[in-house]
Amino acid sequence: MQNQDEFYIGYLPKAPKKISGSLKLIIFLLMLIMAFVAFMVVANEEKFDESTFEYGKLTELKGVIVKHPVPMLKVKMGIDPDKKEVYRSFILVNFGKMGVYELVDDLASKMDEPLDQYEVTVQGTLIYFDGKTLLELSNQSASIINFEKRDGTEPVSNFLTLQEEAILQGEIIDPKCYFGVMKPGFGKVHRSCAVRCISGGIPPVLMMKDKQGEMNYVLLTDYGWGPINQKILDKVGKAVRISGQLQSVDDWYVLKVNEAKAISLLEDPIHWGKDVYSNLVVDFQNSGKHTCPYHPEMSISLCQ
């Protein structure tokens, strides 16, 4: 025990001098520690992406709603030098952690013609990052404010089958969070949220990275371009390897997952400092065969 002339009694107005002096030093040190910890946490945490969610701002877009491979709004950008119409894909998501499969089905049932025969005016909130765009129907079904029959009947989506059996590895994420709303929108910390979003109908996306840090994103559906959301919930947010048929559809890739070969979790994910590289080359550059945009198995020549 120290020099014990001084004795601290809390309910007395003043603390004894030496104790008071010690206390001031202790408090000063504690404050230093607090500032230091704040600095260390912020300086060393991972950088946040520039993903954007235009929260509170509604944008009006005119385009065509398609159901395949996932519900999307195709907005015409222009006509290219080859006189082809070029469309930009906006993946549609609902308010909160919900998707639009039911909303779109509901809308389609009210129409006389197939949904892609109409040009719709939609009001929603933009979500975009790294070359991909989504549109949140912030007012749910009330976001669709007008529709009229469009000129022309050609399909607005251009499907190419790149690889019959591709094997990809990466992490399954939900695009609404990843491309806009959440920081970070991937990894273990985000897993519960991704599970909720995918379970709510937001289309799952495989996030892929190569050695140089370049990213690729692939939509995941079943072989009929139907949702596989509920079947993959336990694999979300983890390192996985998936096989299936790889297609490109305008500005997105889609993998029609081979459900017979289960999505395997990568074994041993990976010990500290050791990278896992796949030696299976994924070729997105393939010119690919044209596929029917309405029937997943058909080539375009047989398509209606």
Partner: protein, 344 residues
């Protein structure tokens, strides 16, 4: 000590204590926010709130947990112990902000009730590395809530100090849950091992301080043996400092022998408020004063001065030559025993 329960018995020291808590929190949050705006500007507000409140509450929890051992190792830390409860309640409130925002951010607006989603979104309860870390955080928050809700002396009195303290020992369970919540949560997503490093340093510090304290206490725990008359030799009169005490361990519990005004008295070492060590206190204005919160007892009968009603057990002392002997059999709390006069 009061018989009418008020929310807080304010005094100057408590106000200063709370002021410093407030300043510390403001300092941390300002530093965190400003540094984030400069270094990591793409953050969202929710992520900023979640990270700031989470890291701050863990930091405060570490400070809270080192106060106990530090006070045992060096009495200059006792002022931090005096109002530690306010620190605990504050820590819970900040942790609640973290938990609340996290639940809303990650679980709300989905197809499942958010409070259910915490437990079912990731249901790998059988796996260590994939364990749902948010469940660990949730239960830590429940424990901290129970502690904050019963932090008032009202509960201390009505539950009894022993049960109350046993319940508040759950802070260690909450601490373990919090460490694992971070280690199996955010630390798994961050490539820079900063979270784990800071946490490791914190864990190491707490373990080391507790071990040092344990070793120090063990030395004082050795029980003395009885002589043929059934008395225990305490030591010589000179060994007892003026207006202070020495303590010895008899029958599993400590007894404090005080020397004051040329007299000796012996009382139980255990304060009736929160079982603080009376023997480490001092005689102030004729009363034994507990070093933790200043509760007082008269040395000759173990009673608190009126209007207070706490009482401790008293013991008989015999002085032979210069040696002090203690009769280990306690009297009922509040029994008057004449102090032994020290003849010069």
């Amino acid at each position: 000590m009061a018989h009418q329960y008020v929310a807080v018995l304010w005094n100057r020291q408590k106000k200063l204590y709370d002021l410093y808590i407030f300043l510390g929190i403001i300092l941390y949050l300002l530093a965190f926010i400003v540094l984030t705006m400069i270094l990591k500007p793409n953050i969202t507000e929710e992520a900023l709130i979640i990270r700031a409140s989470g890291s701050l509450s863990i930091l405060i929890l570490h400070i809270i947990l080192i106060i106990g051992p530090l006070s045992r190792l060096n009495t200059r830390f006792l002022p931090l112990l005096y109002n530690r409860r306010h620190l605990g309640v504050t820590m819970f409130l900040i942790a609640f902000i973290h938990g609340g925002f996290s639940i809303i951010q990650f679980h709300a607006l989905g197809n499942v009730n958010p409070l259910v989603s915490i437990f079912v979104s990731n249901n790998e309860y059988g796996d260590l590395l994939n364990f749902p870390f948010q469940t660990l955080g949730f239960f830590a928050l429940i424990i901290l809530f129970l502690m904050a809700a019963t932090s008032h002396d009202f509960w201390l009195t009505n539950l009894g100090p022993r049960f109350w303290k046993a319940m508040h020992m759950m802070v260690y369970v909450a601490y373990a849950l919090v460490i694992l919540h971070v280690a199996l949560g955010i630390a798994q997503s961050e490539p820079e091992p900063i979270m784990l490093t800071l946490l490791g340093i914190g864990l190491f510090t707490i373990v080391i301080l507790h071990l040092m304290t344990a070793f120090k206490e063990v030395k004082n725990d050795r029980e003395k043996s009885l002589n043929q008359r059934g008395y225990v030799l305490v030591g010589t009169v000179e060994e007892i400092p003026e207006n202070k005490a020495v303590t010895i361990n008899v029958n599993g519990e400590k007894v404090a022998i005080f020397k004051y005004d040329g007299k000796l008295s012996a009382v139980s070492n255990v304060c009736r408020h929160q079982n603080g060590p009376l023997g480490e206190g001092k005689i102030v204005d004729g009363c034994i004063t507990c070093p933790w919160h200043g509760y007082q007892y008269l040395p000759h009968n173990g009673c608190s001065p009126p209007p207070f009603t706490e009482k401790v057990e008293t013991f008989d002392i015999v002085l032979e030559d210069n040696k002090v002997y203690l009769n280990p059999k306690p009297y009922e709390p509040g029994t008057e025993r004449s102090p032994v006069v020290i003849s010069s």
